[in-house]
Amino acid sequence: MKITQGMFSFLPELSDEEIGAQCQYALDNEWPLSIEYTDDPHPRNTYWEMHALPMFDLEDAAGVVKEINDARKAHPETYIRVIAYDAARHRQSVAMLFIVQRPTTEPGFRLERTETNDRHIQYKMHSYAADRPAGDRYQAK
């Protein structure tokens, strides 16, 4: 099941060139970019790990694409996303966010229904990948 988080996630995977063009758009707007990765795909998992430092003062997207490729090499079989921060109003708000790498197989989620008091149903999203310990979730078989 393809995880759909952030921008462009209903589109086919972006090529490096398209990623570069999106990053260039962010840089032209003076939004610094940073790269994050995780192996916990739960939609409520907002705390992804940082890859390297946020990239300030860049002019050209070639540097970002280079760093994305470094991240892919360093963290294969994980989710990697690019975030553009907009500091225009003295706050770090996310202006763009899109996934640039996913594991080869994404097992997806199971929906668990728990019946509680008065026959209320509680729903729970359970990621199949999260059954395995962190760091071991998407290793190629």
Partner: protein, 357 residues
């Protein structure tokens, strides 16, 4: 400029058609839907169209279109002297123009090696030329952004193990699409300390210069003698540099020319009597230690401004526009350069030059 789609048509539109055609739309779009003058918004040339084997290309028109002349002209106007440097820059511009023309006929060749080293005494205009070079390469489509990132050892080399690589890589990322200007590059290499982190930085730079040469141009700058030593101890660096430009020292006439430009820019003028005095000042200052060419001239004029201000304030009288505009003889005669030479006892540089870097 777009080639006409039918092979029998005129090879190039008339020169004056460039500006007007794109604005009025009279030149129209070619079959690929590209704007007929092929430029993007900030004046950079777009990737050229492929031409047929029997077509011809108007190099002069191409030159005008790329704005090469404009860059070279501002270089000529704003920088006094430096004839060998200007000639070399013009040669590089010509090479890149021909290289573009070759590509349009499908004659592929390796992208020319554009990494450069600028050697010369302090204040000979190395940074300024690097900035112009970035603009030129951008106009010709060799750099996507054409900005200049000027760094020194401090920006590249870290303070502890594992600090250098991220630092250098960050600077390289910032310079992508433009020129990375490394001032006093020889400080990167400290032979007396074999554990110096500078070596690590040099290795990353070497790798970058090889792998990312489509994305950035590295310019190493510094004093001639020390750069020679640096290149001798880093042969890999020397061989990756395509152009070694040597910046000659300015002679007195050129320095006077520089000061004229500076005064004009700052809205000052020299009193008639002050002209020979200032010339004398430059002649004397040149002989002394720590003379930094154009920078020293600028500093001298800054100090003359100080003395002028003090003179006017001490006068405590009404001042006219002319008083505010004019630097007088005594504004220069107050300098220690004159004191020293008359006393003749102290060979070192004057005190008021000590603030110079």
């Amino acid at each position: 400029m777009s080639p006409p789609s039918d092979p029998g048509a005129a090879p190039a539109p008339p020169r004056q058609g460039f500006g007007s055609a794109s604005r009025s739309g009279g030149g129209g779009k070619d079959s690929n839907g590209k704007d007929s003058n092929g430029k993007d918004s900030d004046g950079q040339l777009a990737e050229p169209e492929r031409l047929g084997d029997d077509e011809t290309l108007d190099l002069a028109a191409e030159r005008v279109e790329a704005g090469v002349d404009e860059v070279l002209r501002t270089l000529d106007e704003e920088l006094v002297g430096l004839a060998p440097v200007k000639q070399r820059v013009a040669e590089i511009a010509a090479l890149l123009l021909v290289d573009r023309a070759r590509r349009r006929f499908g004659l592929t060749s390796e992208r020319p090696n554009l990494h450069m080293s600028f050697t010369g005494s302090p204040g000979t205009g190395k940074t300024t030329v690097a900035m112009r070079m970035a603009a030129l390469l951008h106009r010709l489509g060799y750099l996507r952004r054409g900005h200049l990132v000027a760094v020194t050892r401090d920006d590249l080399v870290g303070q502890y193990v594992g600090h250098t690589a991220p630092k250098t890589k960050e600077v390289v990322k910032r310079a992508m699409g433009g020129v990375l200007f490394i001032d006093e590059a020889y400080y990167l290499y400290r032979p007396e300390n074999e554990r110096d982190y500078g070596q690590e930085s040099i290795e990353i730079l070497l790798q970058t210069m090889e792998n990312d040469r489509d994305d950035l141009v590295v310019v190493l700058a510094g004093y001639s003698d020390r750069m020679d030593v640096f290149f001798e101890s880093n042969p890999g660096m020397s061989s990756r540099i395509g152009h070694h430009l040597d910046f000659p020292d300015y002679d007195v006439d050129e320095l006077v020319g520089i000061s004229d430009l500076f005064l004009k820019k700052e809205n000052y003028k020299l009193e008639e009597a002050a002209v020979p005095v200032f010339r004398d000042y430059i002649t004397r200052r040149r002989e002394q230690a720590r003379f930094a060419n154009a920078r020293s001239v600028r500093n001298a004029l800054e100090r003359a401004r100080l003395r002028q201000a003090r003179r006017l304030v001490d006068l405590g009288d009404k001042v006219s526009r002319d008083d505010l505009l004019t630097l007088k003889e005594e504004d220069f005669l107050g300098s220690r350069v004159f004191e020293n030479s008359e006393g003749g006892d102290e060979p070192s540089a004057p005190d008021d030059e000590k603030s110079e870097s």
